[in-house]
Structure formats: C-alpha cells, structure tokens
C-alpha cells in the first residue's frame, strides 16, 4: 500500500479520542480504587490485635511507609512509561523507597542476630504470605493492568513489572495490617520475597499484556 493511501484511510477513519490523563492524575485515580479495596480486605481478614501498639513503633511505620511509597512511585512510573516522550527518570523512582524498605529489613535482621545470636534469625515456613499478598493486591493489580493498557506499549516488561510491584507492595502493606508477623528475616523472605516474585512474574507477562493494537487501514 502506498503511504498516501494509508494516510487517506487513517484520516478517514479517525474519530474523537478520550485523552489519557497525566500520570499523577491516573495515580490518584488508581489509589482511589486500590486503597479502599485493600482496606476492605484488611477488614474482612480482621486487623491484627496489636495494631494500635504497632502503629507506635518506628520500625513498623518505616517499613510500612517505605512499602506505601514503593507502591506509589512504582505506579507513577508504570503510568509514565506508557506516555511517549516523557522522561525516563520516573522509572527509577521506586528504587529509593525499595532500598529503604530492604535496608530496614536488613538492619532488623542484623540487630536480631546481634541481640539473640543465630536464634534471632530462625526461618520458619509461612506459606500464607504469597497468596495473601496476591489476594490483597488483586483489585489494585487488575485496576492498574486495565489502566496501563491504555498507554503506549513502549516498555512492556518494565511497565508491567512496575505495575506488579505497585500492586504487590500495596498488598503487602495490607497483609501487615492483619498478619502478625514482624520478625525481620520472616518479613524479608516471605513478604518482601513474595513482592519480588510477583514483580518478576509481571515482568515475564509484559509482552503478553502490552502490545501495539492492530489497526485496520
């Protein structure tokens, strides 16, 4: 087909389009769906009995805060990645809160080991973490998937990985509101590990979820 013919056909079939809102507005919209769904999940599972007490602990607040900021920055980065011509630096934004989260957990492991010796680093099976994070983050994950599919598939793997990270991090925040597990090594392996696993799975499905839409011209 000649390019001029294609241009004619494309312009003939053009219709008004609904513009994609800026990433920040989409983040607020996503949060409006994701946060209530996580809260409902926490209410259904019933909040942990020592929640008020935990809210006074700086380490707990730091880790939860880092997880929330990770979720927010990852979602913002995922939304930015789908807009052609936008700077790429937002893609690196989640690294800072992620490092803070990991650092806090690492520091917790170290202080447990220093105060209790090898017993302070006991690892027990906690198989509920992965499905609980996936379930708590399910609605945020579905919502963000629908939203990023409206963008351009410029970086499919990175975009879906960031979206998965956002949903899983938010799921983990919810989990720690109803699951009384605070041993740093346990949180590091079973919770942070689950978040990373879900992010990796998201990365693998990137090209499947985000593709250029075929146009009939």
């Amino acid at each position: 087909m000649r390019t001029n013919v294609l241009i004619q056909r494309l312009s003939d079939q053009t219709t008004p389009v609904r513009r994609l809102p800026p990433p920040l507005r989409r983040l607020v919209l996503w949060l409006g769906i994701a946060a209530p769904s996580v809260m409902i999940m926490v209410a259904v599972m019933s909040p942990r009995p020592d929640l008020i007490e935990k809210l006074g602990e700086s380490r707990y607040l730091l880790e939860q805060g880092a997880a929330v900021v990770t979720a927010l920055t990852a979602a913002f980065a995922a939304f930015s990645a789908g807009v052609p011509g936008r700077p790429r630096w937002p893609l690196l934004l989640p690294l800072a809160p992620l490092a803070l989260w990991l650092g806090s957990l690492g520091q917790g492991c170290l202080s447990n080991w220093l105060s209790l010796g090898p017993e302070g680093l006991t690892l027990q099976p906690d198989w509920m973490c992965l499905p609980a994070i996936a379930l708590t983050g399910a609605v945020p994950a579905i919502a963000i998937t629908v939203m990023i599919r409206r963008g351009a598939p410029l970086l499919p793997r990175a975009t879906v990985a960031l979206a998965a990270l956002a949903a899983a991090a938010l799921g983990n925040v919810g989990l720690r509101l109803f699951h009384p597990q605070d041993a740093s090594l346990m949180v590091l392996v079973w919770q942070f590990g689950s978040v990373m696993l879900l992010t990796t799975v998201g990365c693998c499905f990137g090209r499947l979820l985000l593709r250029w839409r075929p146009i009939r011209a």
Binding site: L6, Q8, L10, S11, G151, L154
Partner: protein, 189 residues
C-alpha cells in the same frame, strides 16, 4: 530555530484538532509527518528497500496511541519516542530473521539416492514420457490423461469416461506401474 518552533506549534494544533475528530487536520498532520519520519529513519539507517514499510508502521503505531498525546507537552518528542521504538522493534525483528536464514548459492544434496538431486535436469525426459503414455492401453491412457494431465477429480473423470470410480483407480494404478517400468527400462538401457 523559528521555523522549527512554528512547525512544532502547527503540529500541536493539528494533533489537538485530530484528537477531537477533525479529519482534515489529521490528514494534513500525517501528510507532513510522513517525510519527517522518512528523513529521521534515513538519517539513522540510510536509504533501504523497506523504508516505506517502516514509515507506515510508525504512522499506524502513532494512530493507535494518538490519545496518549497531551497538547500541553511538545509534539516532536512524543512522535520520535514512538518512531524510535518502532525502529528498534523492526531492527530486532530483522536481526532475528537474518539469524535464522542461511544464504546458499546452490542447494546441497538432500537425498542419498542420486536421482532426486539432479535438479539441473528439470522434470525429466518429457518426450519419453509422452511416448510411454501413448503406448498404454486405451483405458489406462484415458485414466492418466484425465486424472493426471487434466487434473480431473475421480468423480468427474468417471462421469466423463463412463467408467466406474473403482475401474479408474485400477486403471490409474496399472498405468503408473507400466510407466514406471517403461521409463525405468529406458534409463537403465
């Protein structure tokens, strides 16, 4: 610089109108973008045979995500991000294709027997085949002519010749056997 700025402002205006469904504006925009994209590809890869396909691919991709353009932001970086992505995608596809392709001047032998590898000899001796068919009994010759040379179906050949389908099958089988024997003897002789 002023020329670039005025072009940028015009493209932003045309794209804004196109997003609202203005077909004439969209046509003008695409018409101006095609040579711009062609030039960008040419500067990166030089002129090549499939350049027009790539230009069209960029235009189609741009069309599919035209809702992602925000008129508050510059247009050219938006367009070039799509163009660069499509160029890289096409380059990857090309490399994948080339990696799995083997260019040979002459096909290698494919069978251990000599006969199938005599590609230069073409379909064989047509005159001998014609003579061998002519020597076949009438029923067998008719079967070969209808089923092989005229490529008729068994049902059609049966209706045309008045022979039953089973009789045609038997005649064809015997004809092939006779032809094979006749041509084989000739080659050995």
């Amino acid at each position: 610089m002023e020329k670039v700025n005025s072009r940028e402002a015009r493209w932003v205006g045309l794209m804004r109108a196109a997003q609202q469904g203005d077909r004439a504006a969209y046509h003008s925009l695409l018409f101006e973008l095609a040579p711009f994209i062609r030039g960008a590809i040419g500067r990166r890869w030089g002129r090549f045979e499939g350049i027009e396909d790539l230009v069209q691919d960029v235009l189609l991709s741009m069309h599919s995500v035209r809702h992602t353009y925000d008129p508050q932001r510059p247009f050219t970086p938006w367009l070039m991000a799509i163009a660069r992505h499509r160029m890289a995608d096409n380059a990857r596809r090309y490399v994948r294709k080339v990696r799995n392709e083997v260019n040979v001047d002459e096909w290698p032998e494919t069978f251990s027997a000599h006969e199938p590898n005599y590609l230069d000899e073409g379909p064989g001796d047509v005159q001998s085949l014609r003579e061998a068919i002519a020597k076949l009994p009438v029923g067998q010759r008719q079967a070969v002519e209808m089923l092989k040379l005229q490529e008729m179906s068994l049902k059609g050949a049966s209706a045309a010749s008045g022979q039953s389908v089973a009789a045609l099958k038997v005649a064809m089988h015997r004809a092939l056997k006779a032809l094979r024997a006749a041509l084989g003897e000739e080659r050995q002789g």
